[in-house]
């Protein structure tokens, strides 16, 4: 299915509503303003080999229901450490222990992915079931969303480049939602009907 610019804008809007809520929750949690922005989104096939080359720190939540798939919040390793340091007050990247990084980013990932998936559930007026967040380091995105064999991967991946602004520092990560085959198409058709 070929997505138009309007389709991508609608998808970006859904993600932005979700990250907006997540930013509010994070700001309340941390007691300081956190900004989250998703300037644009793009969609690639789950079989795209580029997903084999992306790894780092990932938080994954799976969802099932009217729309099903796997959602990831993903950072390059150093960027993930930097974000964890900023949120917890460590001055140096090598000072923060691994278990604090995993705890902090699992909670941040939980809040961000809840925001985006909640926005998705709201717009489709459906109830989704979710798993608790899982934390990974050094695993390729392709491995986390399905199989390491590209030809056996089906469906589409929505990639939302995400800018975090924490204590005046800019942190760049990605929200990735791997939809099961046909799920994204159904969502887009639904959105097209909504705006028609």
């Amino acid at each position: 299915m070929e997505l138009t610019d309007e389709d991508l804008e609608s998808l970006a809007e859904i993600v932005n509503i979700g990250v907006g809520r997540a930013a509010s929750s994070l700001s309340i949690l941390l007691g300081s303003a956190i900004e989250l922005k998703v300037p644009k989104v793009r969609v690639i096939a789950a079989s795209d080999r580029v997903l084999d080359q992306v790894d780092g720190i990932s938080v994954k939540q799976q969802f099932t229901g009217a729309v099903a798939g796997k959602a990831l919040l993903q950072f390059p390793t150093q960027t993930g450490r930097q974000l964890a340091c900023l949120l917890t007050g460590y001055d140096e990247l090598d000072e923060i222990p691994e278990f604090e990084i995993s705890g902090v980013l699992a909670e941040v990932g939980n809040i961000v992915l809840n925001g985006v998936l909640g926005s998705l559930a709201n717009i489709t007026s459906s109830h989704l079931d979710y798993t608790v967040p899982e934390f990974y380091v050094g695993r390729a995105v392709s491995d986390l969303i399905g199989s390491a064999v590209p030809s056996s991967r089906s469906g589409s991946v929505l990639i939302a480049d995400t800018d975090f602004c924490v204590s005046s520092e800019g942190i760049h990560g990605s929200i990735m939602i791997a939809f099961e085959i046909g799920a994204l198409e159904s969502l887009v058709e639904y959105l097209q009907q909504l705006v028609a």
């Binding site: 309340i28 705890g103 902090v104 699992a106 909670e107 809840n114 909640g118 079931d129 979710y130």
Partner: protein, 393 residues
Amino acid sequence: MNDDSRISSGEDRLLDLLPVGAFLIREDFVVVRWNRTVEEWTGMTAADAVGQPLTDLFPNVADGRYAERLRQVFSTGMPATYSPAFHKHFLPVPARHGLEDQLMVQQTEVRLFSREPALALVTIADVSLQYVQLGLLRAERAELVKTRDELKAAVQGLEASNRELDDFNYIASHDLQEPLRKIVSFSALLEKQCAEQLPDSGIQYLGFMSDAARRMKNLISDLLSLSRTSRAQLEPAELDLNQCVDDVLQLLGHRLESTGAQLQVPALPAVSGDRRLIAQLYQNLIGNALKFVTDETPRVELTAERGEGEWILGVLDNGIGISEDAAARIFQPFQRLHGRDEYEGTGIGLSICRKAVQRHNGRIWVESRPGEGAHFRFTLPDRPATGTAADLG
């Protein structure tokens, strides 16, 4: 009030077997199940907890950052994770691992367990041990940083004090030369032009004065030499010690001849060093070997031995030797072991040797016994390139 028929006794037992704290709450936060681990951690039995709102049992849970996301679990079905870095504890329970003032640190996850009626499962993992270990590591690290800073400050203090001492040494010895030159030249003039007008005792006093002035001149000259060795800009380069020692032996040619010394010089290696300072080092050591002699014919042998990344070099003689006590202080300035009548010298030569070696990050020491000669040894860094210059065999 544990009457929810859907929670079978089998599931009850399953919950009790979990190695984590686990309990179930309703949408109104009323506890419907309370496993044994939570009983143990909180000291609150299932009989006391079940049927009570969690917010009554633990008022901190009513705090917005917990309660808001707990409500979301019921309203959206989305899970909530509470990390220890942000929350420390979900349930305020007593300390474990012997830390009286630290509450148990928990990683808590809440997810919808059933939909009708809605129940949420709260699981709590105790991660206190990780924090205890982290605390120990931080304490060790802080101690190391403190020690490092103290050492750094001490080294900086010593360096500053050494610099001041070097500066003082240089200025004092340099400035003393001028008045001394006048004393020497006017006493010479007095001796030359007024000797006839002086009584014998005056001539004798003048002799004492001239002699003292000459010794003072030597002292000042050696002090300046020591100062220059400390302050000189090092020009380290690959240095063939064979050439360096040849130059020194030429300078000492007259003394070698006059003492009739037997000299053994093996093939010496190439090192990394400053030609001027190393030449001064060999000149002083060989000079001492020719000075502190016994009645035997002086024998002087240069030695070289491979060390790890360095050469252990030396000057071995059959002279009068040095006692163990004296060996410990012989490299200090003005440490004379013998009277001036016995041996000429200012007591600074070996200080210059030590400084020259130290400037090359080397060590210098002496192996000796009285009457059995001495082996002055020192280390110099290997030349930076591969291999060694000489095939020592």
